[in-house]
Amino acid sequence: MLKQEMKPKKEQTQGTILKLVGFFLGSEEYAVDILKIREIKLMQEITNVPKAPGFVEGVINLRGDIVPIIDLRKKLNLGRAELNEESKIIICEIESKLVGVIVDEVSEVIEIDDTKISPPPPIIGGVEAEYLKGVGRLGDRLLILLDLDRILSVEEKSQLV
């Protein structure tokens, strides 16, 4: 759906405004659709789940629900997150279930014109194109738009079945 929106429209300079939440993984700035995000939490104690896939950091209690926490860096093969006080857990809703992802630092809510988003190159910042929705330009900033649904669902389904 988004792909259609992202197609550069030559006649129109004014496209749809997308609202994104930006965050850092290492030195790169990434962004995801704000509608996917339920809340952003400070780092907290995570209960380890033995024998779970490596990128699964564990589970936390979110107001009575047990929510799995994913280390996004590990998942994207960007090394392991170094947890510090800037580390945050972004709680997202994927396929109507909550999943938390650990990111290094949440930057801000970004509004971007969808004409400023170009389709993803095959690989960027070490992240494969299938996980990307595109690359957005905001002044001199380069935003890598992640496809959280793809990252957090498709592969896991095949893995666990």
């Binding site: 104690e45 209960t47 380890n48 789940v49 033995p50 024998k51 779970a52 896939p53 699964v56 564990g58 589970v59 936390i60 209690n61 009575g64 629900d65 047990i66 929510v67 799995p68 994913i70 279930k97 999943v99 957090l152 669902s153 896991e156 389904k157 666990l160």
Partner: protein, 895 residues
Amino acid sequence: MDIDLSEYIGEYCAELFEQLEELQSDLLELEQNPDNEEIINEIFRIAHTIKGSAATMGFADIAKVAHAFEDLLGEVRDKRISIDNEVFKTFLDAYDIIKSLADHVQAGTEPEGIDVSVVEKALRSFIEDQKQAPPAAPGREPEAVDVVDRLTGFTKEPPSDGRPEETLTAEIEKPPPRSGRGTPPSEKTWKIRMSFDPDVDMKSVRAFLVINHLRDIGDLLEINPSADDIEQDNFEDKLELTIRTATARPEIENILSFGEATEVEMTEETGLQTASPVPDPDPVPDPALTSATDMDAGASSSMEAKKQLQPADEEEFLKFLLGGPQEEEKKEPAGTAPPATAEVSTPDIRLVDELNEDHKNTVIESINQDLNVFEIVVLFRNAEPQSMLRALTVMNYLGEMCRIVVSLPRKKDLEEGVFDGRLQLIVSTEKEIAQLRELLLAEEIAKTSFTPITLDGLHIVPLEGDIPPSTRVEETASAILPQSRTSTKPQEDRKMAIPTVRVTVDRLDDLMNLVGELVIKKTRLNQVFSEFETSGDVEQLRLGIQELNQGLGRITSDLQAGIMKVRMVQIGQVFYRFSRLVRDLSKNLGKQVEFLIEGAETELDKTVIDEIGDPLMHLIRNCLDHGIEPPEVRRKLGKSEKGILLLRAQHAGNHIIVETADDGSGIDAERIKQTAIAKGLVDPLVAARLTPQEIHNFIFMPGFSTSGEVTNVSGRGVGMDVVKDSIEKLQGEIQIKSEKNVGTTIQIKLPLTLAIIQGLLVRVANETFTIPLSTVKETVTLDTASIHTIQNQKVVTIRDEVIPLINLQEFFGLPLRTEDNKFFIVLAGVDDNKVGLVVNYLYGRHEIVIKSLDRRFTSVRGFAGGTVLGDGTVSLILDIPVLVEESKRAYLASM
């Protein structure tokens, strides 16, 4: 008046499914005792209720089948048709159709591919056959009346009961859509009083339905309480109506029966002049006398249509009624025909002919999108400033429900006060005329007219004169089927019914009291704290907290018990579901089975109830297929030809025991042993030492089947392992007791509730795990136990029993903590299978609330779920059956 029926769907479904369950068990009972009149009456009552409420909710398909069902049953009851297998099968088929339609209603899906006409025809065919002998027409009509009478408990009173007219002086309804000045000779005035059962669901909807249908056949002179009040649910249980109509009494009674009232009283008013209709400032010729050209003619013609129907077929008439809103669509245009004749004051302009290109395009677009497009003419009582305001209100109302394409006068002009009492609009909408019309009735409007606009060159569809009324009605009736699937409003945005639990008010009150106490304790806590802040007395604080802690402990455990009670559901609803399965299967297999149910009232947590159905079904199929022998075999064995299948539930402490028992062939332990050996599941030497119980347990191995043949029921070797799995998922245990040629009893032990259980908290390395206490047999310290190693597999011997050990730290690959030098063994297991779990520390028992883990990321073998500890962190719950299996596998491998 627009009552959104979709909000009642949940309630309707709950009711419907209850009725269906009852219907099914009654039907099965009827099969046993085809002559039992009580059962027949009971079934009749249920079918009637299903029909009525389905019609109310606009589910025409269900209503149709239920109606045919009811009719056939009526013939049975009156002993004109006797129940043979063919009839009975048709009843069951009809039940199945209604059931699957009901499933669709609940799921909020469209019933694709369900053709009700087949079964309806089948039901009707019996009646037809029976009617072949005597001519159909006479006798039919009285019969219908008869049925209605008995159903609704009409008390036919003498025409005048002497009650003076002024008893019905209540407010007069908004002017009916049409009214006449005199009462033509054929019209009669009826006074109707209906009493509803105060406890029945959807009273106001029922009353509303009756009013709506009555409006179609005559002039409602009085409605008490007013239709507005009913709409707003200001409705107790009494409804009083006065209607003037030419329709015959049976028809009226039939309509009234939709209300499902407990008591209906219908008296003819003889003093005609007393009930004068609401004065109409815009008088019209008498509907019954005018020909079908003016605004009112449609109504009268539809009335005539009904009159024509009277002698013909009650069937058609009912369909006509059942059509509800979608049917109105067809009829209304007639009722409010083009304002072209002298009857309406200023009919001259048709907006539709004056449309500019833009508007025309909008209209075409809307029609293409399957929206209804109407030209509406609203005539107000006068052209005073207030009516200008009303006109604006009307426009606003309409604007909420439809898109106003164009209006005359324009809204802007209206706001500036340009208004001559006539408002003309073209709107496009998803709504039906009836809904819009009801909306407009809410204002002081003299007349409204609706004209559907079709694509056909944007011409007004021909309405009057072209089609004789009777044909149109037939069309309407036949159009119900397809229309009900596509165009009725309640089905369009049909909502999914949310699963519900019925709770008695007592139980809720108990909970409310507890919550009240909780609030008091909270206040007390504030008090204790502020006292401490002023006095600084630690001892006083300690005492205060101690007292509060005790109080809170009691309240929370009561609250927990209370909530659990609310979640409790009788297991009967699962049990009775099987009676049909047993009946069909045993017929299919050529076996005779008596199906007995005990302890149906035993209550179990809703989650358990929802999960227990499938495993039980497997067990019952097994019993029927493998357990109970064919009659001839049973005779040879000296058993009665009829086998017994017993389904029983009973309490046992904190558990519920659900049993299936049969007096069939039993399980051949020897054969199982041989199969197990042949499949290499067990060493022949080991097998010789196994107890019968252990041998029976082989049945639960995946793919294990001794059945030589695969029937279409069971025998594929899938089933028992699935049963065991699902029972264990419910924290339950399953046991087989069987004796050859005597029978088999399968016992399922289930916890009363799943959500909250007792757990033993243990520490392994740095992790805190929870073990369900129901699985824990005992705990020992490692140094007192004697540990042996059998080929790399550690075992512990306790009281001469060798139990395999799992070191959880190794098993889960956790980092070893060197400071841990003390170990405990938790002996846990299900049935007789035990495993020793090596842990570092025992924290003790806690009450825990089970939460499920996300299947996508954290579905790890060995964990059954998670729970939140007092400090807010998560502890994983160990899946003991899985761990037992793991240890066994390792143990057997090492042997």
